[in-house]
Amino acid sequence: MAVYIIRRVTLALVVMIGVSIIAFLLARVIPSDPVGRWVGLRAKAEQREKARIELGLDKPLYVQYFRYMKGFVRGDWGTSLYTHQPVLRDLATHLPASLELIFFGMAIALLLGIPLGTLSAAKSGGIVDHSSRVFSLAGIALPTFWLAMIFQLVLFKQLHLFPLAGRIKAITGILHPIKHITGFNLFDSLITGNFTAFGSAFMHIILPGITLAAHPLGLIARMTRATMLEVLGEDYIRTARSCGIGEVRILLIYALRNALAPVLTICALLFAFSLVETFLIESVFTWPGLGFYTSNAILTVDYPVIMGVTILISFTYIFLNLIVDITQAFLDPRIRIS
């Protein structure tokens, strides 16, 4: 097991270095005018030259790369060309909002997806099974950004059930400010007993949350169904049945527990998927998270930010994949031996 973990971690490190090189090359080789963005269009030649040195763009590429990575490891991810703030600080400000949204979405997907999948497996071929299949097929084909707008159209405009956009009602945010502890509004307002703010934050997170959950929900349901069907065919289930144990008890206690491991590992991958999906959803709901911040950075070609976010998300991806691989190897000895 130790050998496997070491091999897998080394491989992940190599890929991480490669990814950082690709991201770096993307930002530097492709023609864009970072100096122009830094000093403005009307700057004189000597001002441009000074900025070039200030930004380190006069050095050879590999020196620039090592300089960037040295800074990266120390927490200096460069300065945004647009906000003129350190990239890392900007990211730290915006990340909690995105994470809160992703956790909320994943919670919905799990709480609905697992029962749906279990039910589909229990009554395989029945109405629930067919509708869950159609639902998951549809969930994958629905453009998230459009689904978000349809929710706004129906649930905000027509039925007045939920607020249109944002994280909290502006007036509530002023009258009952949330004390910043973790940056997760729901959590912070709840533990400080600020229930007015909690209510508002909760209403605001529902629409972006269910939009984000749509795709993972379908996948989790299908995955649960598939593994449940496999487990239900095992001998010990037959034995349990022959002992006269109730069907519900068999499903929920004997089968589900064994079927859940693969489902939980796919959650790590869905989490990474949701991280990118927030780019689209936050843009529709003006949710002040990482995606919203990055979309703006991309439209203004703010390359230190684009690079930082690209590296951050890819590293998260690689890290989650690593966790999944190791967990699976832990659960299934065949993987670590091969």
Partner: protein, 286 residues
């Protein structure tokens, strides 16, 4: 023999209603795209504004209403179908151009070359494809052509992986060894054996990818990184409609339905192709 196989495949398709639905959707889209100028109610007006007619709700004259410049939404959707299918074909074509030769080289030559190609493709796959495509288009400059290049750059490793594993498995077969023994050139082996054997898995992969590519490009256009106005691209139509949709629902609703139906159609065909062409899977319960 071939006829028999085709008949068998057709029977399998007929027995599978979801695949049949997918195939009908895709055929319909192809027809609409090919005959767009005849299908669209106002083929000459997709880029001309009629301000007197702007933001009209759906009616008999304008089945999907008109947009903020008075253009007929249904006609723009029909021409958008052309664009989406083109995006799919060109992007996947480009990915194949990069991915297939690399995969064959990796699998066929093995050793260091293989190691390098596979590590690079691992690295590319470590980026979420939408994110990598966003970063590339942001740097290249936002337009449809760059969006397609960007998606292709993030997509080719899938084909490289596929072709590599096919090449490795074919390389070991006895008939290839026999071909080599009678002096067949590597070119002949690659084209006649490796590529022909990979065709089935390649077709499956392409049909599965088609919907995903169309979805990614629509997402890029939605973020302002793909097609630019006045192109009637569906993602872009939704993006522009953002300013109006709460009062004029039809502006974003129909382009979204178009994306949904298209992606769903290709996904169903992809699933079906996997089941029908890969008998190993069809026996397994899904």
């Amino acid at each position: 023999m071939v006829l028999h196989e085709i008949r068998h495949t057709l029977r399998l398709i007929r027995r599978n209603p979801l695949t049949l639905t997918g195939l009908s959707i895709v055929s319909l889209l192809v027809v609409v795209a090919l005959f767009a100028p005849w299908v669209a109610p106002y083929p000459n007006d997709i880029n001309t504004s009629h301000m007197a007619n702007k933001l009209q709700p759906p009616s008999l004259a304008h089945p999907c209403g008109t947009d903020e410049l008075g253009r007929d939404v249904s006609s723009r959707l029909v021409f958008g179908c052309r664009i989406s299918l083109q995006i799919g074909f060109l992007t996947i074509g480009l990915s194949l151009l990069i991915g297939v030769p690399l995969g064959v080289i990796a699998g066929y030559s093995g050793g260091k070359v293989d190691e390098i190609i596979m590590r690079v493709s691992d690295m590319v796959l470590s980026f979420p494809s939408l994110l990598l495509a966003m970063a590339i288009t942001a740097m290249l400059g936002p337009n449809l052509q760059n969006a397609m290049i960007a998606i292709a750059i993030s997509w080719w490793p899938w084909y490289t992986r596929l072709l590599r594993s096919e090449a490795i498995s074919v390389k070991e077969r006895e008939y290839v060894a026999a071909a080599k023994a009678i002096g067949a050139s590597w070119r002949r082996i690659v084209f006649k054996h490796v590529l022909r054997n990979s065709l089935t898995s390649l077709i499956i992969q392409i049909s599965v990818d088609f919907g995903a590519v169309i979805m990614t490009s629509a997402a890029l256009s939605f973020l302002g990184l793909g097609a630019q106005p006045p192109t009637p691209e569906w993602g872009l139509m939704i993006n522009i409609g953002r300013d109006f949709f709460l009062s004029y629902w039809w502006i974003v609703t129909f382009p979204g339905v178009a994306i949904f139906v298209t992606v769903l159609g290709f996904n169903l065909v992809g699933d079906g192709a996997r089941e029908i062409l890969d008998p190993r899977l069809s026996r397994r319960g899904r």
